[in-house]
Subunit: 195 residues, 2 copies
Amino acid sequence: MDTSKNRHIFFRTHISQIVQLTDEEFEQVLNCFTFRKYKKHQYITQQGEIGSHEHFVLKGIVKSSYTDPSGKEHILQLAMEEWWFSDINAFNNEQPATFNADCLEDTETYSISFENKEKLCAESKKMEYFFRKKYTSGNIALQKRVLALLSSSAGERYNQLLIQYPSLYKRVSKTIIAAYLGVSRETLSRLSSTG
Amino acid sequence: MDTSKNRHIFFRTHISQIVQLTDEEFEQVLNCFTFRKYKKHQYITQQGEIGSHEHFVLKGIVKSSYTDPSGKEHILQLAMEEWWFSDINAFNNEQPATFNADCLEDTETYSISFENKEKLCAESKKMEYFFRKKYTSGNIALQKRVLALLSSSAGERYNQLLIQYPSLYKRVSKTIIAAYLGVSRETLSRLSSTG
């Protein structure tokens, strides 16, 4: 985003979907976050690192993934504008990160440390409520993801993703979509040519 | 549990792992929950029902599962003593339940409606904090579950479950364990005979 004023409007509009803040309260929130810019391909976090942050995406796409000992990559999340992402265990329990987070496009975030988040929630009942609701949405999305992995065929998962996030297909390579769906690149090609 | 006093102690001890409540505050919490008893095989919720509650398990085991149109059952969660469970989307968005919840043993719960939970959180900063932390734990467990489904073999998932919840194998049938792991009953038999 071109100006800090535009970023503030974008972030405040996002928060106002759940709670209404006064100017002073929003200033207090902003003071807890750090604005960060990343280039395409840059890593925000690498597996094993300590000191994870929680991030709100202002612009760009971030891929959260786990590379297993054989070198195969498994994608947990693709976070775009207005999404939150974190390695929730690493962030909340001060553990080494399980996931890599790297940028598929030039990316901008507002990022918060665990200490700042807890301080903000302790001082602001509105923001405690906001984050409880955000984690509720996260839980819903993850329950749906588990159910899709257990019960849906690759074709069904592909179609669900296409309906939910049509823009993803224009912005992200097929190799990455395949890793997100948990199918081979060949299976995905077959699905997308018949879809 | 044999007496209401024992149930109160069990629940209060659970809450005190995250927040310390005064006697009056705990009384306020208790007033928002309903004590419920279910027989083995009884349903707490059925797919499609409106009016989901969030439940804390005092005793027993509850299976949350989705039966697909072909009649195959997929298990999201097996909740035992001191676990919370709900169909998070149905509960928070007042939608029809996606999941069945039925009891694998005689079960007792403290259950709360959406209205009572929101009222309690609005009135009690401590309980707002408590539920934010509980949903954080839920998110962590679900991120791990997604990662296991994407990256682990059936054998690895079986061994992880065995280490995490050894008592589950004594209390739950192999057919149910197989549905939880997303493998066939035959695959599970092979794993458990070589494990």
